[in-house]
Symmetry: C2
Subunit: 116 residues, 2 copies
DNA sequence: ATATCATATACCCATATAGGTATATGTAAA
DNA sequence: TTTACATATACCTATATGGGTATATGATAT
């Protein structure tokens, strides 16, 4: 009995892995919108929008405010900080794969062959 | 005939949506490693490591250098830039959801009706 | 050559999940 | 009330994919 894949959408990293969800966030960061306005902007079926909003809600990337029958959604940008911070640990290597190239050259000197 | 879900892993955003793949990148950014060294560090089965490395390779987040039977993997940090740049458009709103709250208050003052 | 090591890949399975349709829920208007 | 509207959700289907096992590939050593 194979142990199956783990759930994914329940964290911010995976939530923004979905292109449609990124598009929704890009819309909402400009201005808060109702679901219907999002449907018009995206030109996707309403359940599609609602379901992606649900995922975004569950990871706290959007917040909802109900006004009558309208549900206003807005981005909670702070929630993207963990992603930015995770990226940050790689930034110091940007533009220079040089240290790694160095150790690679040492490796092939110590071992012989190469490729790539 | 339901149109099924779209492929996801073939872009950087989704590649880093997988926790194991993030862990691999965190290891490799410290130092390049062979698959076997990664297996030892992660304590996952070797095929698991190899398959995640394949995904990371396909989105160009890691590069491979073969030295004899050893395959050295290293991070290509620059490839994370698109993610960082995408995040960047949200940074100006960090710490203050205030403007959005303002416009929300204005909206409900204007009786919450949506314009169409 | 043969054996061993390092890695990739093929295969299977279970499940998570995106997309679609229909319906439920909840609110406001007539 | 009844109707219309706004959104969420239940349901279904197809597929993408993570995890596991076994095997293939490829390189080195003996």
């Amino acid at each position: 009995m194979p142990m199956a894949r783990a759930s994914t959408t329940n964290d911010v990293f995976n939530a923004i892995g979905e292109p449609k969800r990124r598009a929704i966030l890009e819309q909402l960061v400009v201005q808060q919108m109702t679901v219907g306005e999002l449907v018009d902007a995206m030109e996707w079926p309403q359940p599609t929008v609602s379901k992606h909003l649900k995922v975004l809600r569950e990871v706290n990337l959007v917040a909802e405010t109900r006004v009558g029958r309208f549900h206003y959604y807005r981005v909670k940008p702070d929630e993207l900080r963990p992603v930015q911070e995770w990226i940050h640990q790689f930034e110091k290597y940007w533009g220079g794969a040089l240290e790694q190239l160095d150790s690679y050259l040492i490796d092939i000197q110590n071992n012989g062959e190469k490729s790539d």
